[in-house]
């Protein structure tokens, strides 16, 4: 029995240590704000990321890591009655309408919102755009130079005989860029014609990869695969330059502007936080020029604040598409499952 008691004491002791960091004083300005974000964001946060915010306000920022954007929103919905954090970052258009329907956010208009392209902003300020990224076809420059084939500049052109078997995209049900590109084709061709394009591509031997890593590092000619055209991001060519083994003057890959889809990531104050004002300050900080200028080289997406300067690699080695496709969150939420079913019926039927 004595053994049991000792063990029980240890277990409870450990639990209390673990819980200790969760308990907070009920004052207007907290010592710590909690920011819950998807893994891709959280993994890149270090002690310097929010140091300027802490210096200015005296508030520490504790980052809680979730998995992908879908898991993140689900966790926020499930903990609605007793929020896990004060601020959530990383919800995109795919999951935004679900989050808004569940009422997990409280409205906040950032002091820096006028620096943001009105197209990106939410009309009722329920969430604040922090960054955006364009999902675009990338092509292998060396492969095209050697083959003499022209780089295609429209989606229709990809159905030509000449490009048969040269294209890899991700699956819309298992991959975020895959879903983005499916939405791009719906936006480009309309609900009447989009499946026709896909069935022509199927006939032309388009390759479907389950996720981005497999498409890029498995199927792309640059990494020894068979496809010189893969669905990736507009920021991939600058990343190729920055993470090259030998310094490069020019990006080895390029972006095809046709069929690009713009993904916007938002931050929001979680309903029920005891510190809505401080939470607002944190969102302002994330939209400030100082934080925004660090975004491209850390997360490889573009700053929402138009005053933020892009690093030279992002200016020289890629293009921001002029007219990327986009789709309202409600329309995605309403139709997504059905579209995927239709897509699967055509591509795997």
């Amino acid at each position: 029995m004595r053994h049991t008691r000792t063990v029980a004491t240890i277990v409870i002791g450990l639990a209390l240590i673990g819980a200790g960091c969760g308990e907070r004083e009920q004052t207007d300005t907290p010592e710590t704000l909690r920011l819950i974000a998807h893994e891709s964001f959280a993994a890149e946060v270090d002690e310097t990321t929010f140091a300027p915010f802490t210096d200015e306000t005296g508030i520490e920022v504790e980052v809680i890591a979730s998995d992908d954007a879908g898991t993140l929103v689900n966790q926020a919905v499930l903990s609605k009655d007793n929020p896990l954090a004060d601020v959530l970052f990383g919800v995109d258009d795919t999951f935004l309408s679900r989050a808004l329907d569940e009422g997990i956010f409280t409205a906040y208009e950032s002091a820096h919102i006028e620096t943001v392209d009105p197209d990106l902003a939410h009309p009722e300020s329920m969430v604040t755009p922090i960054d955006y990224g364009d999902v675009c076809f990338n092509y292998d420059k060396e492969w095209f130079a050697e083959s003499g084939l022209a780089v295609p500049d429209s989606l229709d052109q990809l159905t030509d005989e000449a490009y048969a078997g040269l294209v890899t995209v991700e699956h819309p049900a298992t991959s975020s860029p895959g879903l983005a590109f499916m939405l791009a084709t719906i936006d480009t061709f309309g609900e009447e014609r989009w499946l026709d394009w896909w069935s022509e591509m199927k006939a032309a031997g388009i390759d479907i990869a389950p996720d981005w890593d497999t498409a890029y590092y498995g199927e792309f000619t640059r990494y020894g695969g068979p496809s010189p055209i893969v669905m990736s991001y507009a920021s991939s060519p600058p990343a190729e330059v920055i993470f090259a083994e030998e310094p490069l003057d020019e990006a080895p890959t390029g972006v095809i502007e046709a069929g690009c889809y713009r993904q916007v990531e938002y931050a929001g104050i979680l309903e029920g936080t005891p510190y809505p004002e401080s939470a607002g300050q944190l969102i302002d900080f994330m939209l400030s020029v100082a934080f925004q200028e660090g975004i491209p080289l850390t997360w490889f997406v573009y700053p929402a604040n138009a005053d933020a300067q892009l690093p030279p690699e992002f200016v020289e080695h890629t293009t921001i598409p002029d007219h990327p496709t986009r789709m309202p969150s409600e329309r995605i939420a309403e139709n997504r499952d059905e579209w995927i079913d239709q897509w699967v019926a055509v591509m795997e039927g």
Partner: protein
Amino acid sequence: MRRRVRWGWVAMAAIPTLFIGYFFVYPLVRILALGLSELSIGTDGVESRLLRVGWFTVWQAVVSTILTFIAAAPLTWAVSRYEFPGRRLAMGLVTVPFVLPTVVVGTAFVALGWQESIGAILAAHVFFNVAVVVRTVSTLWSRIDPRLLDAARVLGASETEVFRRVTLPLLRPALAAAGSIVLLFTFTSFGVVLILGGYQYATLEVEIYRQAVDLFDLPLAAALAIVQLVGVSAALWWYSRYQERTAVAWTLERGSNRMRPARRTRVGVAVAVIGTLAVLGIPLGVLVGRSLSGPFYRALLTDDRVVGDPLAAVGNSLRFAVVAMAVATVVGLLAATVIASRKGRVSRWFDLTLMLPLGTSAVTIGFGFILALDRPVDLRASVWLVPIAHALVAVPFVVRTTVPTLRAIPEETRQAAAVLGAGPFRVWREIDLPIVSRAALVGAGFAFVISLGEFGATSFIARPNSTTIPTMIFRLLSRPGEVSFGMAMALSVGLAVITAAVVMAIDRARIGELGTF
């Protein structure tokens, strides 16, 4: 006397019961109750897909398990029966696939051109799980009393007959243990199926994720989770009855009884060991080759401008692994002692419940944590949840590796000790512990590498931000560029080396006669 013994068991059962109750049963009940409260009967249009998914889940798990046994047989035989130079190294190497992140193995398989087919899924399942069979079975096999075999030979049995009528029946509990673990692992396969199978080959696990996370259909996800639980429970119920029925008490040797192979069998042993490692080594060779195509190991020693310091990730991973191993070993060993000593319904349910986390979808458990663990203390985003989730998956390994050994201790030995005046704890410490320590070490080793490999158990847990080896590999692989890819491969090889080293160290460790645990 009798009363005291019983209280001892209650005390022993309390810790595993509290652990599994608070960190598994309660969150599971909360999330399923929430899902089912919103369930409307008649989710039309989904049935045919779900039936297909359910059928695929079952048959691929059964076939994967059978194939894993076939693939593991030669090596298991060699390392159990024979002592040869490099035996520990072989045991270390065979564990490496078990710990590698699915996404890394996925890229290796894709590079070899094995993808989007059932063959690739089955091959990957075998690749990951061979270690489970080799390690679980050889623990018991190497300690079969050679006099039993000699007796059979003296009575005129041929070598085949000795194997079939003596060795095999004695091994049955270990075979069943390994089989149940591999079956559960493949039944709930997620990453492998997603990467190598594509959308058309979804398991229940994949479908639960899709319904819950992507489509926000929590009711349907909950219903599927219940189907998954029922399937897993049925298999486990049958298994635990089987194991109880077939367990034979026989004297286990404290040490192993491996012998030097005779000249004639030396070739067989060499072929079994080298052949198995060579086949498992093909995907690993791809990783090593790619990791060496640039100065990527040097890059691991410096602080990457984006993903941070890889060495810090190694430190985090090791810390989590030590805690997870400690928790899983204590909980698992106590539970195994209770299970092995009590036959009947209660013990069977207890055993089954402890095994369930291995057969429950990670999404279900992760979301259950969010609902359930905010009171009395808010553990929802606590740093302790990560090793606890790892331990939940690891406890079944400790239980499964130790129960067959514990069951094999004849009750008379314990009674003799009791007659001589030993209390229940003294009996456990002086009889059970020394005999079971070898098997417990194997279980502890699994717990350690399970934690190192993450296994997706933590994906759906909100957790403080700390980078581990698998999450860093995942981050590197989701970023374009030669250096990103090379570093991911180099870090994977690093993970493989750490795994092999840890496993070899554990195999070498000797637990003293008593007390030093």
